[in-house]
């Protein structure tokens, strides 16, 4: 393998416009894309959902556009958001509140707060106060995974969401409609699976930051459009002339809710790490495999949640398997090491870490860990940590 050389490629003419679009969507904090979509038909409604996971199929089936709200990243100046949160609370809710009080969430007609952590939970109440009159719903995801117990409860929750969103759109969610939505999302899941497979196989074709931006576009675009977008991107990178660097393969865990700034992702790669698997925007791929398209669609969605999710910090680990699952994943993805990277002050992610570390230590898998915030602006420490990690593997591995 060659010496570390920074890849200074002129962006491929096919990739460039796609990336430009994804970047524009990423920067679209005013939700102009949603406004545009809504303006095509005055009866259209859009529903925001917070991390980590919400059954977007249900919102879609009720005729509304599900829009992911994952904070303001490093793009918003926090002026009023800070006034709602003490310094020891993670950054995400303050930028979400900043977006809300500055009117940038106005294109949304309602909000879903899935049970993720205490901060998101309490944020649901704050929204009730800050945006009176808007539909704000706390979506309790089951922590009991028995179909008759947790399953029934969850189906009841989903039906409540369907009914409430349906009131806004005037559409009643029939089984037919819901099934159609499942089909649409299955198509999207298939495209994303393909993208992830390609990235794992040839990570130089799908840089982490690009992968992220492509995924992120799905938090704003209608699902059908996003699926096309992912397919276009896949075709473009497959045809590109990108070539490999002297980088190690890593897997990133812990970033399931608050999103790292894109510059941080680039930093990781520049420091010599190919991220071949991660949990950024976890909600977009929490259920990686297809949801059953036949039978009762409510049950199908519920089953998929109860038994088809990848382990994540905000879902109770009933079978004590997350450590093993991580180790298995490391082997499957043939990575050289793991980066445990959690948002500062994120209790779920940080409390998970000792358990994940123990599993990695036991399996003798190298790992490194650090914290970040969505608005982290200085990457020196992260660069050095990731770089040293990559150095150690490169110097001592087979490279």
């Amino acid at each position: 393998m060659s010496i570390v050389v920074e890849q200074k490629e002129a962006l491929d003419a096919r990739i460039a416009p796609l990336l430009a679009r994804a970047q524009a969507l990423y920067e679209d904090l005013d939700l102009r894309a949603v406004q545009a979509w809504k303006s095509e038909d005055p009866s259209r409604r859009a529903i925001g959902f917070l991390p980590v996971y919400a059954p977007r199929e249900v919102v879609h089936a009720a005729g509304a556009l599900p829009v992911g709200i994952v904070g303001g990243g490093d793009q918003v100046e926090i002026v009023r958001g800070d006034s709602y949160f003490q310094s020891y609370i993670c950054h995400l809710p303050r930028s979400v509140v900043e977006l809300a009080v500055s009117g940038r969430l106005a294109p949304l007609d309602g909000f879903l707060f899935p049970s993720t952590c205490d901060v998101i939970r309490n944020l649901s109440g704050m929204f009730q106060i800050l945006l009176p009159g808007k539909f704000v719903h706390y979506l309790d995801l089951p922590q009991n995974f028995d179909r008759r117990l947790g399953g029934e409860f969850y189906q009841h929750e989903m039906r409540t969401v369907a009914r409430e969103v349906g009131k806004l759109t005037g559409i009643e969610v029939s089984d037919e409609r819901l099934r159609a939505s499942i089909v649409a999302w299955n198509a999207n899941r298939a495209a994303l699976r393909e993208l992830r497979a390609l990235r794992s196989e040839r990570p130089w074709l799908v840089p982490t930051a690009e992968h992220y931006l492509v995924l992120r576009a799905g938090y704003l675009l209608p699902v059908e459009e996003h699926t096309r977008f992912v397919r276009d991107y896949l075709a473009a990178v497959r045809a590109s002339a990108r070539h490999p660097l002297d980088n190690i393969r890593v897997l990133v865990r812990g970033a399931f809710c608050e999103q790292p700034p894109v510059a941080l992702l680039r930093t990781l790669e520049r420091a010599g790490c190919y991220v071949v698997d991660d949990d950024f925007l976890q909600g977009a791929h929490l259920i990686p495999n297809d949801v059953r398209e036949d039978g009762d669609p409510w049950e199908a969605l519920s089953d998929a949640f109860l038994h088809g999710t990848v382990p994540t910090a905000s879902i109770y680990d009933e079978k004590a398997e997350k450590g093993d699952a991580l180790v298995r994943r490391v082997r499957e993805q043939r990575v050289d090491g793991v980066i445990l990277m959690a948002p500062s002050f994120c209790d779920p992610a940080l409390l998970d870490q000792p358990m994940l570390q123990a599993a990695l230590e036991k399996a003798k898998i190298p790992f490194t860990s650090f914290k970040y915030a969505e608005d982290t602006g200085q990457f020196q420490v992260i660069r050095e940590q990731a770089g040293t990690f990559a150095d150690a593997i490169k110097l001592w591995g087979s490279a």
Partner: protein
């Protein structure tokens, strides 16, 4: 005369004001509180009282001395002479300390050279002081430490370049000895000082010398009765005052701002080492507040540190930032890291002006989050503390505030640095009035 005193023992500067029985502001005094808090309080207070005497003196001169059109020049000259005398007094004490320091064993090898160097430096400092204290010239700072320090450092560099002892060694002597000097107070009485100052006044301005001397003596010895003193500020717990003579700096700042601008509802005070956001009602009563300290990021010292890094005066920083063309977002929170980022950005080709403006915006953004936490910004909005003297900080504040809270009246008073002290003195007055009502 009966008077009331308010002392604001700030983290950087200590301010004192004197009110007369009617609540009129009749005197102000300021000093740096770096050293001993007791001394700082004492100095600020005596400065304020001296300020009162000067005001009295002016009135007396105007009414009695019959100096005609030379009156204004006479006053200016007398004041400058007074300042110079005080400065020279401190300078002599500093020199004595430095010379004593040279007896230390560490100067065994180069004592004569050091002695000679000090000789030259102190002569130079004195000469430049005489220029600085010309009537009408503007000083870089009000404080002995800053004035003497900057000219000492300049001269030390010259001496070192000319083959004298090393710069580090010379400056080391200064750094070690300035601290005790700051903790000492002037030994001469006001009367003595005033008479010496009078000696500096050029002959053509002096008028009827004997009459004026009598007047100077008379005003110098007039009696004041300080009825009550209330202390406040960062260092208030260290003041040797009974508990009921100490008020929280939050309340004092709130009240002080209210007195200067009765329609104020929100007050932002950015001092040297802490920042406060205060909401008050229509009587100046604090309804909520937030403050931060212990971290220089977001306080005045942040800008001071940057100015030091750039080797320029603090007062030059704001005007430089006013020249900015582009908006730069500073990534580092920590002051020291911001300093490093400043150098990185310069190296990357960004303009000094733009970066400095970015730094101003950064400190204002930190203040905004404090303001937001205290309840936002309500009209009218008053900005106090030392940083309110910085035009770029004021501009950034106005910009960000209006972007987020709409059009506002932003008040900045010339006396804004005394806000806390004015509040404290007013509390003293109110206490006295309340006690009078009771009995």
């Amino acid at each position: 005369m009966e008077c009331l005193i308010g002392i604001d023992l700030g983290s950087t500067t200590t301010k004192a004001v004197v009110l007369d029985g009617e609540g009129r502001l009749v005197g102000r005094g300021i000093t740096n509180s770096r050293s001993n808090y007791d001394v700082a309080a004492k100095v600020a207070k005596s400065e304020a009282l001296i300020n009162v005497r000067f005001e009295m003196l002016k009135r007396a001169l105007r009414e009695e001395a019959r100096l005609g059109e030379t009156l204004a020049s006479f006053e200016a000259s007398l004041l400058a002479g007074y300042r110079l005398e005080c400065f020279l007094g401190s300078l002599r004490r500093l020199e004595a300390h430095c010379r004593r320091d040279l007896e230390n064993a560490r100067f065994e090898d180069d004592r004569p050279a050091m002695q000679e160097a000090l000789q030259r430096i102190f002569a130079g400092v004195e000469a430049s002081a005489r220029r600085v204290f010309e009537p009408g010239s503007v000083a870089r700072s009000d404080f002995f430490r800053d004035l003497a320090g900057s000219s000492y450092v300049e001269l030390a560099a010259q001496v070192a370049r000319a083959g004298g002892p090393s710069f580090d060694r010379l400056v080391g002597v200064y750094d070690r000895n300035i601290i005790p000097v700051e903790n000492e107070t002037e030994t001469r009485s006001f009367e003595e000082l005033l008479l010496e100052a009078f000696a500096h006044v050029p002959a053509p301005l002096r008028g009827d010398e004997r009459a004026i001397e009598r007047l100077l003596r008379e005003v110098s010895t007039r009696n004041f009765e300080v009825v009550r003193t209330v202390g406040t500020g960062y260092g208030r717990v260290r003041l040797p005052f009974p508990k009921d003579c100490i008020r929280s700096e939050i309340l004092c700042h709130g009240l002080g701002a209210h007195l200067m601008f009765p329609a104020t509802r929100t007050v932002l005070d950015i001092g040297g080492q802490d920042t406060k956001a205060i909401q008050i009602d229509d009587q100046g009563v604090v309804t909520s507040f937030q403050m931060n300290d212990r971290c220089a990021a977001g306080c005045g010292r942040y800008l001071g540190y940057i100015a030091d890094e750039m080797n320029i005066g603090l007062h030059e920083l704001g005007p430089m930032a006013m020249q900015a063309r582009r908006r730069v977002k500073i990534n580092s929170t920590c002051t020291v890291f911001a300093g490093a980022e400043f150098r990185d950005r310069l190296a990357a080709g960004q303009s000094r002006e733009d970066i400095v403006a970015g730094l101003h915006r950064a400190i204002i953004l930190r203040a905004m989050s404090l303001l937001a936490r205290s309840g936002g910004i309500a009209n009218e909005f008053t900005f106090t503390g030392g940083v309110a003297k910085n035009p770029a900080a004021v501009r950034a504040l106005r910009e960000v505030a209006e972007e987020n809270y709409g059009k506002l009246t932003l008040n900045i008073a010339p006396d804004s640095i005394y806000t806390g002290a004015i509040g404290a003195a007013t509390f003293a007055l109110r206490d006295v009035l309340a006690a009078a009502r009771q009995s």
